[in-house]
């Protein structure tokens, strides 16, 4: 039996196995420090399509197919797809999935989508509602710029606090049983803490790390206190796309609670790019930032045994271009997903 613990956390008694992942990234991510961990690095962000949006859907479709292939599963073995992205009305996912013959849950958690997906997927599996679930999240730098900022060729400067939307897609397959040929330990979702929407009144869309950091802090703090553990229980606590500023703010907020986060805390937005060398600003962002860092780098590190217990905390900024123009502040959200190696 699974159960809800205290305020916010769900702990799974039966392990929810992560049996396969796959990742695709764009050229800039392919020049970053994690380049050896991705399945496919695109040479061209258009990926042979005529628009950025079509390219994003193609990336999603093919990365899903590769995740299935790696798990030796066919479409019929999958009970549900859970997927989301940053394009209006989730079209990045919708158009990728229309050719698949699998029931679909479209979700929106901005850049925290992969965390929301993993949480819901784990609940479905643990509740006995599904055997295998395919989960994914995608974003595309050029499509995001077009939708949220300015046309690509416009000669503007980016402030140093801005983040860089990651192009790519990360897919994950959750299952209630291991693959037959797996005798080793496998990464499993053991607990999740869904976050609350937290808005500290930050309005600068060029400083989204600062807008999301309180939500990340809140959910990590709740997770640790619900389970009555300290941060060093995990080999790594990794937030989604807070970047340098958001990362430092989280460390500072924990410091004020006398909790030391300087040792085992990092951020996917800082892992995926070399922010100095690649001139990225504060770090990577977008749905794909946490999704590909997990599906590529973190999952492989867990399988290698370099990491055994991680707390994966994708973060999202829940604003739109309209809400920003109307002077609204930026609400943040984060989902904490505990992943541990299990027999």
């Amino acid at each position: 039996m699974q159960k809800k613990i205290r305020q916010q956390t769900i702990k799974f008694k039966n392990p929810v196995y992560i049996i396969s992942t796959s990742s695709t990234v764009g050229p800039k991510e392919g020049e970053g420090p994690l380049k050896d961990f991705f399945d496919l690095i695109l040479e061209d962000s258009l990926y042979g399509e005529i628009s950025w949006e079509k390219a994003e859907s193609k990336i999603t479709k093919e990365t899903f197919a590769r995740a299935l292939e790696k798990a030796n599963l066919s479409q019929e073995d999958i009970d549900y797809v859970i997927s989301g992205d940053l394009l209006n009305q989730n079209t990045g996912s919708n158009f990728a999935i229309r050719d698949l013959n699998i029931p679909f849950f479209g979700i929106f958690g901005a850049c925290s989508t992969i965390g929301e997906g993993l949480g819901l997927g784990a609940i479905l599996i643990n509740g006995g509602f599904a055997n295998n679930i395919l989960i994914g999240a995608s974003s595309h730098f050029c499509a995001s710029e077009k939708q949220f900022r300015f046309p690509l060729e416009l000669g503007t400067q980016r402030p140093p606090s801005s983040t860089w939307t990651v192009t790519g897609q990360g897919s994950v397959i959750l299952s209630n049983k291991k693959n037959q040929d797996e005798n080793k330990k496998l990464p499993c979702i053991t607990a999740i803490t869904p976050g609350k929407i937290i808005d500290m009144g930050i309005k600068d869309a060029n400083n989204m790390g600062a807008a999301m950091a309180p939500a990340a802090f809140d959910v990590i703090y709740s997770h640790l206190s619900d389970l009555n553990i300290s941060p060093d229980y995990y080999d790594l606590i990794v937030t989604g796309d807070l970047g340098k500023i958001g990362h430092d703010l989280v460390v500072k907020m924990f410091g004020e609670k006398n909790i030391d986060m300087t040792k085992n805390y990092n951020d996917c937005g800082l892992l995926i790019f070399d922010i100095e060398k690649q001139k990225i600003g504060s770090g990577g962002s977008g749905c794909a930032c946490s999704a590909v860092t997990f599906a590529g780098y973190l999952y492989k590190r867990l399988k290698d045994g370099v990491l055994n217990k991680i707390l994966f905390v994708p973060t999202g900024a829940l604003m739109s271009q309209l809400s920003s123009q109307q002077g609204e502040s930026i609400p943040g959200i984060a989902y904490a997903v505990a992943i541990e190696n299990h027999d």
């Binding site: 060729e153 416009l154 000669g155 503007t156 980016r158 609350k196 937290i198 500290m200």
Partner: protein
């Protein structure tokens, strides 16, 4: 349910303190000389046509047309945004920047068709410039009329 922290104002002050600032002096300096350089090129073009014997108005029109042409060409080849990253206002304010602000959305929204894509979105960035410069010219015109 209570948040795990306290004060919005305090947090906003902390963010302000921890966020890196743009180097305004360096940006102004780069904008000054690179914008000035574009203007110097414009002067050369104007003088060239004056030397060919054209009237000053005609020479200036040639200058604008040529600068707009190169602004658009450099936008199409993906060069102008790189200049803009360095020069900032230096490459936005001159007429080449205006050309860039029209050409860039035209390129970006071509996929949405020639009517609602290119046609509707072309003045996405430069639209406000046209609206408010027209308004300003009307106001200046009224003052000018009554001051005579």
């Amino acid at each position: 349910m209570k948040n795990n922290f306290i004060d919005k104002k305090k947090y906003q002050d902390t963010v302000e303190k921890m966020s890196p600032k743009t180097n305004i002096f360096l940006n102004c300096f780069n904008a000054f000389w690179s914008g000035g350089l574009i203007c110097v090129i414009g002067e050369f073009i104007t003088n060239y046509f004056l030397n060919l014997g054209y009237e000053i108005e005609v020479a200036r029109t040639f200058c604008s047309v040529i600068l707009i042409f190169f602004g658009v060409i450099l936008t199409g080849f993906g060069v102008y945004d790189k200049i803009g990253k360095f020069a900032g206002a230096g490459s936005i304010v001159p007429i080449t920047g205006f050309a860039n602000s029209v050409a860039a959305p035209a390129l970006e929204f071509k996929k949405e068709g020639y009517i609602f894509g290119v046609g509707a979105k072309m003045f996405l960035i430069s639209g406000p410039v046209i609206v408010y410069s027209t308004l300003a010219s009307v106001i200046v015109g009224i003052f000018y009329y009554f001051s005579l």
